[in-house]
Subunit: 323 residues, 2 copies
Amino acid sequence: MRLLVAILSILLWSSAGAQVLPSWNDGGAKQGIVEFVKAVTETGGKDYVPPVERIAVFDNDGTLWSEQPVYFQLAFMLEQVKAAAPKHPEWKDNPAFKALMARDKTELMKMSHKPVLALIGVANSGMTVEAYDKSIRDWLATARHPRFNRPYTDLVFQPMQELLAYLRESGFKTFIVSGGSVEFMRPWAEQAYGIPAEQIIGSQQEVKFEMKAGKPVLTRGAKFAFVDDGPGKPVGIYRSIGRRPIAAFGNSDGDLQMLQVTAAGPGRSLVLIVHHDDAEREFAYDRQSHVGKLDKAWDEAKARNWIVVSMKSDWKKIFSFDK
Amino acid sequence: MRLLVAILSILLWSSAGAQVLPSWNDGGAKQGIVEFVKAVTETGGKDYVPPVERIAVFDNDGTLWSEQPVYFQLAFMLEQVKAAAPKHPEWKDNPAFKALMARDKTELMKMSHKPVLALIGVANSGMTVEAYDKSIRDWLATARHPRFNRPYTDLVFQPMQELLAYLRESGFKTFIVSGGSVEFMRPWAEQAYGIPAEQIIGSQQEVKFEMKAGKPVLTRGAKFAFVDDGPGKPVGIYRSIGRRPIAAFGNSDGDLQMLQVTAAGPGRSLVLIVHHDDAEREFAYDRQSHVGKLDKAWDEAKARNWIVVSMKSDWKKIFSFDK
């Protein structure tokens, strides 16, 4: 068994030259990635990094899968708030509830995230962690993306799946660092990205341990214990990984601080931004977008020579179902 | 390189029968461990668990290394509080500060943990995470255990090091789940236990991200964001691993809830308590101890047939330096 794995690894390895990142067009982005990986893995080279320090962090929404017309987790949460509404008559005068139910984007954008998060927190509080997990799986199994009419989990970016695999083959440990909740990613991230539950960092609601009728139970609280977005991302990385990444991948201003921390490391680093510029195959948005706004991070990418991937010209395919 | 690793693995594997847990005496504890590992790794067996679900969690203080006469991190923190005292004249009337400086155990035990933690938090707040890391490394390099007159990191239990390695060879992923701070374990846990920084779960002080003169900086706050002890341990496991462990190892009542959650899993589980009953080679303490009190968890171990390891009779050696 182990010998078989070793032989397969060698076979895969020797053919890797031709096969690296097959959905990426040749060009600056692909070249930058491959050169970086060669530099940090070449034993004896000046940029060599030992495997244990090869930490790569990926934002999820907009970097590994789509995030339009609304973050997919928000679509799930809308359903949850709707389902919980009969138990919360007090919500009828809550402006966040009214705006959510009316899908009133303008109104939602006018308010801070706080009342929306508070509502969402209350909607799933009191559930056991198992019941919450099941509610996510049930939703993922039936919900369809409004434009593509496919399960949301079909909307992962194939070039990024290849990049994740390529980095792992090169001795990297790959992590998700997302503003979304860890629970929302755990059921499918392993299959979609090859990233196990324990390598997913995200926002966290409070969870409480209790013994109930002799059985240990974990129950969700209503408050957020940690918001893993913007300046929260380097904090989440510090807490959960405890090492500065040498490669970081994002697509929006919410990733800026994670990219800055990675770029500020003492050795060579790879910092990359995915730019959504392909309205035909996916979506096109950046500085003016409410979802996945890319403004400050784009300026910084230009100033610091970070790699900016054009989905339109750098990627042969976006989704595995693309022709 | 990969072929070499595979060949070495096979060689190690085939000699494993004779070499498993060499510092463990034959007996119920060793037998219970080996039988469990065989059961969950036997392909096609009724208790088989796929590798990705083979999660093993270990308490640190008193389970993987010693914890007497005081938790080693407390010895470090005492030094830190002492060093910070000149900057905090307001402490001179603080009862926790007075008790700490007088090493007045009776007084310290009378107060709740809160004033002590609050003091410790303030003592290292405002430091960058790099400066804090350095202060830990410096202390570890020079401090000596009062009884053994050796670096604290010499006081790891060799039988547990062997157990960690044995589980990993059997496809387990091993984690530390400690009431101590992650930062205090990260500098040495990889070498001592083979557990990388990102597989250490522990208590966490607040950390804040800022840009200072164009550089990203993480600075420590004074408050605890999370206390990973007692009922906090299953919460820490849920947040960081997101999977119920199938094997858990502890030594005190602070580990009880982690052991309960592991034992309550749907399949076969291994739950083990290390009992400190060897005053000659290490320390002897249990129900009456202020440090590492083993009372409720011991009763539960007996009621539920968890494995209780006698350090005196189950372990040939405790430390690698034992004759």
